[in-house]
Symmetry: C2
Subunit: 238 residues, 2 copies
DNA sequence: GAAAATATGTGATAAATGTTACATTTATAA
DNA sequence: TTATAAATGTAACATTTATCACATATTTTC
């Protein structure tokens, strides 16, 4: 039995799906949008924007992997989303006329198409369907974050890890076809699932010992999708 | 020293602030909006709408307390927001032309002003500032949910409880001036902070024994704001 | 390429949290 | 009102997770 389909169905709940934003545009409109893009590269570790920074425009990821995070309470940072190829980011601040409320940093070398604030706002006026799409996307994102809250509030670490492995596998699949496996830093990974680095390590080791995943020099590959998926669905909560 | 101000500053991070939605409207517009409202009551325990239900309109809470929750994975439900007086709810599904993605249930007797889907959509067309306000509010809500994710991912149960006590105190303040204290069921409270009912009970007891809160027949009152607030800010994370 | 800094792995231990089981209180319905 | 159900409190115990203290890679910098 193939678990790809039910897994995809499941991971959808944690996907912003912002790649549908340009759906419903005519070809003329699409190429108009295309013509306004400016292509920029970000090296691994560099930031696309900072918390409290003044919004400059939006970024469409051509190829890359980007973490979105924000400061909670003291100085602790929390990653709450990973973007990859085809996703649009940076529009929240523009839509609400506020400063950036979170930060974005490339966790792999990234190519983006940049659209300046001015061009973006013009486009929104010229192409009404774009504004509609953005609105429905914002509403959809609301559900994704709610699902994440539920996951963190109700599931044990190993289930949380199982979920994020499935999510990250798809992200890396889109990013580079999983050529080099999942290569998130252990810090980022622990942060994502709300665990300490050490606990995450132990969880990973257990998965490895059980033959669920394969780890070679940090790169993780899933070998037993069935186990991960059943673990998520069957395992009782906290 | 009064802790009210810094506490308010802090709890803002967990507040949807949807009560600003009608700001910027002229008096004529305001009374036009008013005229379209239909007044409805919901008894404690009754639902305003269900997950997967077809959106009928939006609800402005006149007086009440409402929990928003959704089903995560199996049949487990997760509460991720509590609405009170002055807040508008139910517009996500309308804006995205989807079914309701979550459910809302009155946890205290509630009076709402209901605006039908049709009237709501007409208003959005007639009063552009309303659409702008909704958009910025959606972007703001995004940040609130991200903060909640960080709280659940990084803080211990007792810190999470401290935060929710401060939040809930303000909600009840708006609802009935804290006349009867915080009266959330232990189930809902445990669900909100991502704990079991028993662990929550222990935490509450500890707070009570330390003189931080007062409990009389389920109703909770905060007696030591300073302690709660410092607990949140000083206590190291998980 | 060597040295320093950073990231990762691991084990012992402590602390936090969940589980089970049952008593007690409070709400609900007949 | 009484009977019944639901919610809450509590304690012993099991499990999960965090902390601490290092050893060992792996990267980065000069």
């Amino acid at each position: 039995m193939d678990f790809r389909k039910p897994i995809k169905e499941f991971t959808k709940k944690f996907d912003f799906k912002s790649d549908f934003l340009f759906e419903g545009l005519s070809n003329t409109e699409k190429s108009h949008v295309q013509s306004l893009f400016e292509h920029i590269r970000f090296k691994r570790g560099s930031k696309l924007f900072y918390e409290e920074g003044i919004p400059t425009g939006v970024f469409l990821i051509e190829e890359g992997l980007i973490k979105k995070y924000k400061t909670i309470i003291g100085e602790q940072e929390q990653i709450f989303y990973i973007y990859t190829n085809g996703e649009l980011l940076g529009y929240h601040a523009l839509l609400s006329n506020e400063r950036y409320q979170d930060a974005c940093e490339a966790i792999e070398d990234t190519k983006v198409s940049f659209l300046s604030k001015e061009n973006f706002e013009n486009l929104l006026d010229e192409i009404p369907v774009l504004k509609e799409n953005l609105l429905s996307n914002l509403a959809h994102e609301f559900g994704v974050l709610a699902n994440t809250i539920g996951l963190l509030a109700q599931k044990t670490q190993s289930v949380r890890l199982a979920v994020f492995l499935l999510i990250m596998e798809e992200k890396y699949q889109k990013y580079d076809g999983m050529k080099g496996g999942i290569r998130l830093s252990r810090f980022d990974m622990a942060n994502l699932i709300g665990a300490t680095r050490e606990s995450l390590g132990r969880c990973l080791k257990e998965f490895k010992d059980r033959g669920i995943i394969n780890i070679e020099s940090k790169a993780i590959r899933i070998t037993d999708y069935k186990d991960l998926f059943e673990r998520i669905n069957n395992e009782e909560s906290k």
